[in-house]
Amino acid sequence: MASHESSYRPTNRLSKWLDARLPIQRMMHAQFIDFPTPRNINYLWTTGGLLSFFLGVQLLTGIVLAMHYAPTAADAFNSVEHIRRDVNYGWLMRNMHAVGASMFFLAVYIHIGRGLYYGSYKAPREVLWIIGVVIFLLMMATAFMGYSLPWGQMSFWAVTVITNLFSSIDSIIPGLGTRIVQWLWGGYSVSGTTLTRFFSLHYLLPFVIAGAVVLHIWALHVVGQNNPTGLEIKTASDSVPMSPHAVTKDIFALSVFVMLFAWFVFYLPDYLGHPDNYIEANPLSTPPHIVPEWYFLPYYAILRAIPNKLLGVVAMFASIIILCFTPWLDTSRVRSSKYRPVYKWFFWLFVITVIALGYLGSKPPEGAYVLWARIFTAYYFMHFLIVMPIVGVMETPSRMPRSITEAVLGSSGQPVNVGAPAAPPRH
């Protein structure tokens, strides 16, 4: 991990004894207390802490819900109602879990957006970034399977529609897609068997996510945090120790975000859901509009924008996988969009594109909606494949500060000693 002097001093005999055998306290101290964080990071850098918090909330409330939930076609819906009505604070657990998923995604989108804007994917953070994309994919899989569990109409039809995507493989190897889909279902249609296995996987995946998060943080602590200037920490005055500085900031931001979370949990628990999911799954009747949860809408729009079934599926998955290639698609010498006068605008155009795709994903695929979904889908991919490489080469970055300290204090800035352990300059 990052090589900086540890200020850890075991104070009592037990910690001395442990330190000589398993220096876990020393490691935690180095990584989460002394760890130098750039002094100029803004509130967008608190989303990592938020995400860890929401992973914890989802794990905890999920374990609780599993104590009362019955993963069978006959009882799933009833058991959710039992949780809402009879279990002590069951309504609270269920609301926290459902709203928590939305908050988790909201935080992850801000987190990803920050990474894209400030070029956090660029060398030497490629592996850190790719692990992040893997976590995002795991989150999506977990959320999708979790959404099936209440076994409402939207649950059932979302599972039907999304698992059927795999049948598009039939157009390459006839029969294979159908076999895969039947393997996923454990039958010839979505049934209680499917529900039970989704429940099992939904319980498993969050622990896989937690493992990937450990790798993500490990990688982060090797290469160090990016910051709004995109410059590396060079001198002691460029950084502050993680605790108490970054920690108090993280906790403050967390408390603000938790307020938003609580607002939805207590006043709008159903606002982000779909009313059709309060109707028990019925394999004989499809709801008029099948729509996913809000956080999947942009991908749903991409899926439907492409008239060919297989290509639609490919485009949908590609829209996420393409993120893995940004470290090499982006040709700019500069990390942060703050100093990229041209690319900056394309970044915001990209944000608008994603929001527009989200809106279009919630609309029926007809008339002008389809046309707009195609235009925005095209830009989505063009942004990565054309804009990123070309703008990086063409644009002239604006003048950059020489160091983080200069960015904070101006060129005449005197380094202020806040006592952060110095990080050795990178070579």
């Binding site: 207390i33 104590m67 002590n88 108490p244 108090t248 806040v418 006592g419």
Partner: protein, 191 residues
């Protein structure tokens, strides 16, 4: 953690300590729902008391009802059975506590302390052997009733008398009498 910044007062500042304390207390309180959710839920609590109509139970007959997931033996004892139960001396008993949830533990195990006054023919007990939790025989007419004419646990051979008291075998205690009351002449409410 001890402060290690040069400005060592940071962490001891009143506002910082107050904020930490306030956030900490809130977090601790927030744990309560996570604990309380495991307590019996509203549907379980609603089913925690049970009304039983005794009118169809004839003299000498017995019925078993489920109460809080446990079998409850209700026997309409015949005159002889009541007399047998009354004739037993405390000195002959293995367990001299009445084991009646409505009475203190020290109450002697007289038959009168295991039934309701004026309703001595009715014996209501949790039908779980006090040895290792088997269900004793003796409810059905054809069942073996053991050496004392009451109940007999086939698992390890415990014999209970017509008052449900342990007389022979490994069981340590008399069968438990649950809290119940007569809500009318022929109806009881258990729990």
């Amino acid at each position: 953690m001890a402060s290690h910044t040069e400005d060592g007062s940071n962490r001891r500042d009143f506002i910082v300590v107050a904020a930490q304390a306030f956030a900490g207390v809130g977090t601790a309180i927030a744990l309560w729902p996570f604990i309380h959710q495991m307590n019996p839920d509203a549907s379980t609590q609603a089913a925690a008391s049970l009304e039983v109509d005794l009118a169809p139970v004839k003299d000498g007959q017995a019925i078993t009802v489920m109460w809080r997931g446990k079998p409850v033996f209700i026997r309409n004892r015949s005159k002889e059975e009541v007399k047998q139960a009354l004739d037993v001396k405390l000195a002959d008993l293995v367990d001299i506590s009445a084991r009646n949830d409505a009475l203190p533990e020290k109450t002697p195990a007289l038959d009168a302390n295991r039934t309701k006054k004026g309703k001595e023919n009715w014996l209501v007990m949790v039908g779980i052997c006090t040895h290792l939790g088997c269900i004793p025989k003796g409810q059905s007419m054809s069942d073996a009733k053991g050496d004392y004419g009451g109940w007999f646990c086939p698992c390890h051979g415990s014999h209970y008398d017509t008052s449900g008291r342990i007389r022979k075998g490994p069981a340590p205690r008399n069968l438990e009498v649950p809290p119940y009351e007569f809500v009318s002449d022929t109806k009881i409410k258990i729990g």
